[in-house]
Symmetry: C2
Subunit: 220 residues, 2 copies
DNA sequence: TTTTATTTTTAGGTAAATCTAAAAAAATAA
DNA sequence: TTATTTTTTTAGATTTACCTAAAAATAAAA
């Protein structure tokens, strides 16, 4: 059984592992909002418990046990987010902080019944996949909106940025999950993208386009 | 903002206050499963924070601020219990421990939306009243089943014992909330009570009868 | 009203998760 | 390859919530 704090470390290490193979002390410190010295302490403890592999000065990787623990926390986080949006009418930009707390509730039974109550959702309100109780993810292949060519269209199925500011901005633009978009033009000057959504032409910055994930619909 | 631990102390003191005016160190220690010395430490801290009034060797009472805080935790606990039973199909004997964790989630918004989602319930799965967001309880006047006279009948609306063993026993006897019961006889020998429920005569021990709460229906 | 028992508090310590400041190792630049 | 910068670790403290053992206060019994 892990403490609240240990769980947070594992989850952060898991997320950082998605981009780098071994995870560095400073990177963890930044994410967890603590000092590197504190991270070193915790890292030793997690290694001691067999949840991570740790070589001094070289960074850490999750063991299989650590990975499964982390995935289970991610599962809980995302299921709670679905609950908050689908059942309690939270907006997609309001759920993260509460889910950060709820994810630590210790009851397998609770989470399985919640999963069932929600209809075994496959993705959370931000399009992130929800692992099943064995830790398996449905494979999802996203194409960044920025990578679509002129004339191609896709369905918005995720975002790679979860800040409230970004999510609210998308909401205002009408760019929510499930929306069909078609690339009309790309501006040479600033790389901004002209898209067709809900029969309206709108212009979004390159920065925004980078963080919208779509499932391609093919040409025309 | 109180810590998880502080909240537990306040809640326990609140519950103990229902039977005694000032609450003793040892009583708190027993409930919280800790040592009296630890309770003294925490008591000082809570007094420092203005949540309880404390006179050395004399016990404690909640201040208005402490009381409101405690009531809010009770509110959350009971709302979560309703959620677990009504929405996730937990049995009434399975919810307490999970609610002990959920009650500490810090989000006013969450609890208000949950309250609404549940249809503003007035009582939890054990018949205990749920305070509204201003800390006000609907007045409930229970009559213990043991206090009903022969020939009188009532509706089961609560229990004063929350152990899983007791609740499961009631379930097996068919004595759940909402059931109509009528006292047929009281055995001289052991004080056990003969009752009519669902057109069946059953015999329950005096001990059981003491912990069933009813709303009287009057004679016949 | 003493004596005895119970309750409560103090004194001094431990473990978890932090911190700051300084030392050590590794990576990068000159 | 040596010097500099960056990253990481150690050393030593702090805070929170506990603990045990012993002292002090209060309550109950003789
Ligand atoms: Mn989230
Ligand atoms: Mn999410
Ligand atoms: Mn309960
Ligand atoms: Mn209850």
């Amino acid at each position: 059984m892990q403490s609240f704090t240990e769980e947070n470390y594992l989850k952060i290490i898991y997320h950082l592992s998605e981009s780098t193979n071994t995870v560095q002390t400073n990177a963890i410190a930044e994410q967890i909002q603590t000092k590197p010295a504190s991270v070193t302490d915790m890292i030793k403890k997690l290694a001691e418990k067999g949840l991570i592999d740790y070589i001094k000065y070289q960074g850490v990787t999750l063991t299989e046990k650590g990975k499964q623990t982390a995935i289970n926390i991610v599962r809980k986080h995302r299921l709670w987010e679905v609950f908050l949006v689908d059942k309690l009418n939270f907006k997609w930009d309001e759920v993260h902080d509460v889910a950060e707390e709820l994810e630590h509730i210790k009851s397998e039974n609770l989470i399985e019944r919640l999963d069932e109550f929600l209809g075994f959702p496959k993705a959370d309100p931000h399009g992130d996949p929800i692992p099943d109780k064995n830790g398996r993810f449905a494979k999802t292949q996203f194409v960044k909106l920025i990578e679509l060519k002129i004339g191609e269209s896709g369905t918005i199925t995720g975002v790679s940025q979860h800040s409230s500011a970004f999510l609210k901005h998308l909401e205002k633009l009408g760019l929510t999950l499930g929306k069909q978009v078609k690339i009309s033009d790309v501006t040479d000057f600033d790389g901004s993208v002209e898209i067709l959504v809900d029969n309206k032409q709108i212009n979004i910055s390159r920065e925004v386009a980078k963080h919208i994930l779509t499932t391609e619909n093919g040409k025309n």
